[in-house]
Symmetry: C2
Subunit: 169 residues, 2 copies
DNA sequence: CAAATAAACTTAGATTGCTAAGCGTTTTTT
DNA sequence: AAAAAACGCTTAGCAATCTAAGTTTATTTG
């Protein structure tokens, strides 16, 4: 039987890779939290033929139907090729239809089908359930504070990305 | 020129897809924070030939060299096929070497090369820099609280995953 | 109005991650 | 000790994203 699934050999001989002031850790925690959340939600919505990649777009369309792909990409915060991929799948499974805009034929408006729209009442509860489980034991203020901190982090990083362009034009 | 990058058509006609009690939102924020962090770190370490996928494994090895692939997977929290892929790349770029364990030929121990080890002092500062920018404007307690909240979220979700197995054995 | 530029979508190709299934090696059963 | 079970790694194939490079349609310019 052996029962030594990890062997814990020399364990942390201080290579100098300490996670410092709770900082380097942040990335790790973000990644793990994101993956845990994704997995949880995915396992629930997959049964309805919806993938995580499609989930965000579906939500955006529930909020406002008929958006163009460009608009959808911006709302969801995804690059356009990603949107194309997701929409291809959604179109294939009959959740949306693409309609070439007659006024400006470059544009393609995306409309939910009855099937796509009806999923809202089915899927939203699953999302709530996951959020519920995820935040179990956290007070509303704690949760709120965490979300605000993360929002700050997002803003900080997005902004700092611009720094790379400074002095290059 | 036109200057109307979004057209903001009917905007939120309340389809009923409200993000509820700051909950459904959590997933969105987690995803965005994770992506922002990844992008930021990636853009810095890529110059040294290391991808985000490899970063975690490198850190684990800096902390303890010679782990088996199974152990590495557990430490990093990644599935084994993912580990295989990352290690293939790392082996190809000369960061690690695979050594079949003579005592148990099923196992393969992973050892850092001099190159892989020396990257530690180069890469860690980049990670700190990103963490620094990410947490700009957040007090230590705020950051700490956020990390604890996320840790709680991770634990909640991982645990709840087990629920699926209840009554199935 | 024709040519150049811009806008919106698509295609191509790479990376990272996962699940499922396969292949040797070792340990446990009988 | 042969058969069965467990281990540890690998392969195969899919999903989600991204960047770079088209294609088609509109708008601006000369």
């Amino acid at each position: 039987m052996v029962a030594e699934k990890d062997e814990k050999t020399t364990m942390s001989a201080d290579g100098g890779a300490q996670p410092p002031p709770g900082q380097t850790w942040l990335g790790q925690v973000l990644r793990d939290a994101h993956r845990a959340f994704s997995r949880a939600l995915q396992s629930r919505i997959a049964a309805h033929g919806v993938t995580m990649g499609q989930w965000s777009f579906l939500r955006a369309l529930w909020e406002e139907d008929g958006l163009t792909q460009r608009q959808l990409s911006q709302r969801v915060g995804m690059m356009e090729p990603t949107t194309v991929t997701a929409l291809n799948g959604m179109e294939r499974s009959g959740l949306v239809v693409r309609v070439r805009n007659p006024a400006d034929r470059r544009k393609v408006n995306i409309f939910l089908t009855e099937k796509g729209r009806s999923l809202q009442s089915v899927l939203i509860p699953h999302a709530h359930e996951v959020a519920q489980q995820a935040t179990d034991g956290l007070s509303a203020p704690e949760l709120q504070a965490a979300i605000e901190a993360l929002t700050r982090v997002i803003a900080n990083l997005d902004r700092s990305g611009d720094d790379f362009l400074d002095g290059f034009d």
